[in-house]
């Protein structure tokens, strides 16, 4: 009897265990009434930046008593974003690059918030060239542009000085970039010029340079790639010369966005090309000494050069309910856009950030019209704490450079193909550039054909 009782007892424990396991697989329910949304926050922020964010959450919740906001760490990378998207683990509000807006909308992978966005007072004032990145085929604004940038040449002023170069006179031609890189490498032993090559960023930066050299990686109507072209070859020859003739590119040829920022901030890289708004990441997440930072416009050459632009869209999870979508758009309005469109909010936000020693005034491009952008810059001017003079070579030239959007078809997949091309040139002295380009062209054409089906 005793034995039987024990078996029953253990059996009950086993049943309870099974129940617990099953319960672990169910989703928690949301109590009726208030809405709770999860919103993206950069991963790995310094405490001051997190305090800044939390303070803004408090302001939002005070202004919207029915909405509760929970922060979820999120940094966009192609691979982690895809996993989060497929697994349904994205926060309700998250950010994506311009590159992906239209594709995600076409795939129904983000929520349709066009009705809520249309109700915003400034909905019709977006710069059309910027707004189109987040629009569906019918013109509905499914994703909201919150920042736009042009690529820039970031440089380390301390390494410039160590190499006998004037940090107030950054290079204005690609020939000078090569010459300065050589001098920096010679004088300091660090990489004079480095470039990203991994995680699709190699293709991104190669495309940037191709545009700056006067070429394109996609034809005008986006029906075919133009990778096997003279401008792409010229850029690869340029990189090959820096790598193998000058030996001025250091020893790491597997950089991606995060790692190149780390090495630049730690003084191991003289110059690199990336988005013009990188200053915030370099300072708040990589402890860059602001005195060492310099930013210049990309040199343009060739017959039809341009500056590759990009930007960030705020989007909402496809799993969001109507109430969550409405709350999410309110958060996007408050957190990302009111600080650009409303003087009181802009001033308050900038003052709060500056009081917490967060960078205010890093370079960016207008997402509305130029007049509105100028107003915004004037509102925040008293709080600007970034080294504006060290960014003047960029900010004084950027508005005169023709902005070019990223390629439209299979962008990330083509970038991944180009990663391999750039890596091959930088790690194989005998790399056959013509063959690499022919292969990449054929593979990219297959991607275009598939996208057109």
């Amino acid at each position: 009897m005793k034995s039987h009782f024990t078996r029953r007892g253990v059996g009950a424990i086993a049943l309870v265990s099974a129940g617990v396991l099953l319960a672990g697989c169910t989703t928690g329910g949301e109590p009726a009434g208030d809405v709770t949304i999860t919103v993206a926050i950069d991963a790995g922020l310094e405490q001051e930046a997190r305090d800044n964010f939390d303070a803004r959450v408090d302001l939002f919740e005070d202004a919207n008593p029915g909405i509760k906001v929970e922060a979820q760490e999120y940094t966009w990378t192609a691979t982690t974003f895809t996993a989060d998207l497929a697994g349904g683990t994205l926060p309700h509000v998250f950010t994506i690059p311009f590159t992906d807006g239209r594709g995600l909308i076409a795939g129904g992978q983000i929520a349709d918030i066009s009705a809520e966005v249309a109700a915003l007072p400034y909905a019709d004032q977006f710069n059309p060239n910027v707004a189109q990145a987040g629009q569906a085929a019918d013109g509905g604004q499914w994703a909201v542009p919150i920042a736009a940038y042009g690529q820039g040449l970031h440089y380390n002023r301390a390494l410039f000085e160590a190499a006998g170069l004037d940090p107030d006179s950054p290079p204005t031609t690609w020939a000078q970039v090569r010459e300065y890189a050589d001098k920096i490498a010679e004088a300091t032993g660090e990489a004079g010029y480095a470039t990203m090559t991994a995680g699709n960023t190699g293709g991104w930066i190669l495309t940037t340079l191709v545009d700056a050299f006067g070429g394109r990686t996609e034809n005008a109507d986006a029906s075919a790639p133009t990778i096997d072209s003279p401008a792409v070859k010229e850029v690869l020859e340029f990189l090959k010369a820096l790598r193998w003739e000058d030996d001025s590119m250091g020893s790491n040829f597997l950089y991606e966005w995060g790692t190149i920022n780390q090495d630049f901030a730690s003084g191991r890289i003289g110059m690199y090309v990336s988005g013009g708004g990188n200053y915030g990441n370099l300072v708040t997440q990589n402890a860059l000494d602001p005195d060492d930072y310099g930013l210049a416009a990309l040199p343009l050459q060739g017959s039809d050069p341009g500056l590759l632009g990009g930007g960030t869209l705020a989007a909402v999870s496809p799993n969001a309910s109507d109430a969550e979508k409405a709350a999410a758009v309110k958060w996007i309005d408050f957190y990302y856009l009111a600080k650009l469109t409303d003087e009181a909010t802009a001033t308050q936000t900038a003052e709060l950030a500056a009081s917490l020693d967060q960078p205010v005034g890093a370079p960016e491009l207008p997402i509305f019209n130029q007049e509105q952008f100028d107003s915004y810059r004037s509102w925040i001017e008293p709080s600007v704490n970034v080294p504006v003079d060290q960014m003047a070579p960029y900010t004084e030239a950027i508005f005169d450079q023709p902005l070019i959007p990223e390629p439209r078809v299979a962008t990330q997949d083509v970038y991944a193909l180009l990663d391999t091309v750039v890596q091959a040139v930088l790690t194989d002295q005998n790399a056959d550039i013509a063959k690499l380009l022919a292969d990449a062209q054929a593979q990219a054409q297959a991607l275009y054909d598939r996208a057109g089906q």
């Binding site: 078996r7 029953r8 253990v10 059996g11 086993a14 049943l15 265990s17 099974a18 396991l21 099953l22 697989c25 966009w76 192609a78 691979t79 982690t80 974003f81 895809t82 996993a83 998207l85 497929a86 697994g87 994506i96 590159t99 992906d100 594709g103 995600l104 795939g107 129904g108 992978q109 032993g189 090559t197 991994a198 995680g199 699709n200 250091g250 020893s251 790491n252 040829f253 597997l254 991606e256 496809p318 299979a410 990330q412 997949d413 991944a416 990663d419 391999t420 890596q423 091959a424 930088l426 790690t427 194989d428 593979q443």
Partner: protein, 324 residues
Amino acid sequence: MTQIAPPTAPPTREAAAPLVRPARRRSGGVRAWATGDGPHILVFLIPLFVAFGVFSWWPIGRAVVMAFQRTNLVTAPTWVGWQNFENVLRDPLLGVAVGNTLTFAVLALLIGYPIPLVVAVLMSEVRRLRGLFSALAYLPVVIPPVVAALLWKFFYDASPTGVFNTLLGMLGIPKQPWLQDQLTAMPSLVLFATWSAAGGTVIIYLAALISVPPELYDAAEVDGAGIWRKVWHVTLPQLRGVLLVTFILQIIGTAQVFLEPFLFTGGGPANSTTTILLLIYKYAFQNSLGGDYGAATALSLMLAVVLALFSLLYFRLTRGWSTS
């Protein structure tokens, strides 16, 4: 020792009766099962079924289905038949990935298979401090793999001030590109993999070596065998069962190598370390618009089938060799 069977009488109807009543036996068995311990056993097994079902069998079943679909896991999937398999087989990267995986497997066998055996044999000969040596050998295994990989990535810094290059410099050897060159990247990954996994294999070999009857060594010694002849004629034959298992585990493990290229190189430079599993990962997650999950699962299935066939073939071919 052979027992002689007693003479048997021709089978009668009674004697044969049990053979023609299996249904009643089964019926009685079910009743006995239901009134006996059966339900309790089933209840005890429920957590196991739930855990395996949710975390193993269900995903495997879903993967098989997904291999025949095009899906972004957000909107409704569409059936595409064998198209995912055709796409994978036409991908030029598949050949590269298979070649890289085989290279890793061969290098891992050449470097990673004999080293633990040699270390185990040497350690088994040591009379003192064997515990200390065992702990030292096993230490890399207890370091979390990602932590170890990040440390080694730091060591592999290809600049003259990198840790390994500094050590080489002390010996007068020029700096090496390690992970930054298409030729040296894969051997660098194998070196790390060997370091991180050898400890576990050494412990297995040591346990097997301890179980070898000492009389065999004594007999060999009486016959005039030296240490190498004892290893060749006593140790290795006695270890062949363990060697067989570790060999097949090594093959399966190297065919599924992912961690090292993912953490160290991302498959570069220029796809020189893109392995089959990394290719599966890239199919699934490289494109932020939603990966090609159909191709990823199709290639996963193909790899699973190939490995299962390989294991079957290997065990059949070596059946007579195994001690078990």
